[in-house]
Amino acid sequence: MKVPVARSIRPGAVIIISLGIILLALSGFLTPLTRLILAPFLQAQTWIAERYNAIASFVNAPADVAALRQRNAQLEAENARLELQVIQLQQQVREAEVLSSLVDYARSSVQSRYAAAAVIGYDTNPFMRYILINRGADDGLKIGMPIVTNQGLVGQIAAITSGAARVRLITDPSSVVDVHLQNADVDAILQGQITGEASLEMIPQTANVQPGDLILTSGLGGNYPANIVVGQVATVRKRDFDLFQSASVQLAVDFARLEIVLVISNFQPVDIAPLIPTPAP
């Protein structure tokens, strides 16, 4: 049986044509043609896919909402944790700033040795101006040691336990500090007030005291070291019939915002009680 010639060369022709089309497609000559042909198909497929996705999301919505809620809760928890971290870091930065300023202060007066302490409590009675600090006898602190900040004088240790100390602020009514008015070059007494302020007493009538004059500790009496900043004179009261002038004081330290203080640990207060003459019997 004879095979016709046309039928015998057909497969070869198909292969050649196919190869030609493939080569044309690979070389990019058929791109406009394929774009033209495929465009309606792609549009149709896109339309179908969008509708499918819409239906699928509608059908699967509860699961997605639950997953989203869970994710939202996770993110909220993460957000809260990060916010807390930010607050803690801000707190650490603030503490670092306070400590840095205290270190600067300690470096500026090298003759004194300092021990830093945190303020852990305030006196519960409104008549008393005392604070509690977290250092005590175990840290080498003793009653009478002065307390300062980089701003100025805070007070003196009044009572002590092994791990804590009670500090009498200079604003306490029972607190008396011998001070020196730098500009007027006179000594006076700083007396605490019941209102949480302090006033200058026993200023000689002849002294020329002006508002803004700097007040430093004088070191007299042996209770505090000399030349610690206390504050500034705010207003002066001078009456001709008084023996002394008095003045209100703008204290250097903000006692409502005390957080960290320095204890001057190498200062020993002098007990001058035996030197005070007693009346003979």
Binding site: N125, F127, I194
Partner: protein, 167 residues
């Protein structure tokens, strides 16, 4: 025994909170005294048997936390407790009114005792300043917080001392 230990532990915790937190919340120079409010709150719980223990523990803790002359605050707290109980038993059965009256009288007593003690130690203090900057702000603060503390004490009382059923 367990209740007594709980009282000591709870009042110690309140004392710590008072010293570390509430003492910083000032109105002028007046202070909120939560320990005192708890003592007053317990004085108004008639079915609680060892009410005086709350006042004693509160007074001791206040004495420890304050530089005030030892005994002054304990005495003031105990007196306040007695007055609170008396008010509740004889004047106002309504606890809210009794609480207000007891807080008012108690704050005045504590400030009066403190004023006398401070004046004896540091010299006579100006009465007007004490009234304007200490007593009145303290009164306002403590009266504002009296009701919340009373509600806490009331809940604690029913939890610690459950009412006995009469058969």
């Amino acid at each position: 025994m367990t209740q007594s230990l709980f009282i000591i532990a709870f009042m110690s915790l309140v004392g710590l909170m008072q010293s570390a937190v509430f003492s910083r919340l000032n109105l002028l120079n007046g202070k909120l005294d939560v320990l005192f409010l708890f003592v007053i709150g317990w004085s108004l719980q008639p079915r609680v048997k060892a009410r005086w223990l709350w006042a004693a523990v509160g007074g001791l803790i206040a004495t420890l936390l304050s530089a005030m002359t030892p005994g002054v605050l304990l005495l003031a707290y105990m007196l306040t407790f007695v007055i609170g109980s008396y008010i509740q038993q004889h004047f106002w059965k309504q606890p809210s009114l009794a609480m207000l009256a007891a807080v008012f009288i108690g704050v005045v007593i504590i400030h009066l005792f403190s004023y006398v003690a401070v004046s004896l130690i540091s010299g006579l203090q100006p009465v007007r300043e004490v009234l304007n900057f200490l007593l009145l702000p303290s009164l306002l603060l403590n009266i504002l917080c009296a009701f919340p503390v009373y509600l806490v004490v009331k809940d604690m009382a029913s939890w610690l001392y459950p009412e006995e059923l009469k058969v």
